[in-house]
Symmetry: C2
Subunit: 109 residues, 2 copies
């Protein structure tokens, strides 16, 4: 996608379509974070209980522990959640700022 080698008069009438592109990528990335039922449920769960040990999340999803761990990783990478090590456990919680950003960007659609 990022190569941009086709179409577009390159630099004629329009100012340039790139500024909108960066915004599009941020929104796409955030949307992507919740573009899977398991991840939607994880976010919901974290919002309800406000914080949640990984094991609880696993128990609430019909997925293997390793799979859940991967989804958590994705959500972390996107920035929607953050995990804090608490002894042998890891406590996850929502990153309100990022969630708000997602809400705002979608709302402004």
């Amino acid at each position: 996608m990022a190569t941009r080698k086709h179409k577009q008069p390159v630099c004629d009438d329009k100012p340039v379509p790139l500024p909108a592109d960066e915004a599009a990528e941020r929104l796409a990335r955030l949307a992507w974070g919740v573009a899977h039922p398991a991840r939607v449920r994880i976010v919901r769960l974290l919002l309800q209980r406000d914080s949640c040990v990984c094991g609880e999340i696993v128990d609430n999803l019909p997925l293997a522990q390793s799979t859940v761990s991967q989804h958590l990783k994705i959500l972390k990478e996107v920035g929607l959640i953050q995990g804090e090590v608490d002894g042998p456990k890891v406590c996850y919680c929502i990153n309100p700022a990022k969630l708000q950003e997602l809400k705002t960007l979608i709302a402004r659609f």
Copy 2:
């Protein structure tokens, strides 16, 4: 994902975790529709011009016509846009109801 053969007491204390799951899938599917920069831009474009011939969309994206056509197909499948044949051209427009649904579901997060 859909096989559900791990974890969860299957059918004990909880009424059943499926109602929430269905909602999660609807949201995930809608989010998925805009989980790609090109599709975000298409939606934006359609909102600006309120209707748009396919060719214009192609001209506004750094992608081949066939690729754009695929993204349009995805957006159509998700229900966010609809296309109407107009002679040899196809005029796309937003499906306001679906977009609203997406907004609402995200806002209620």
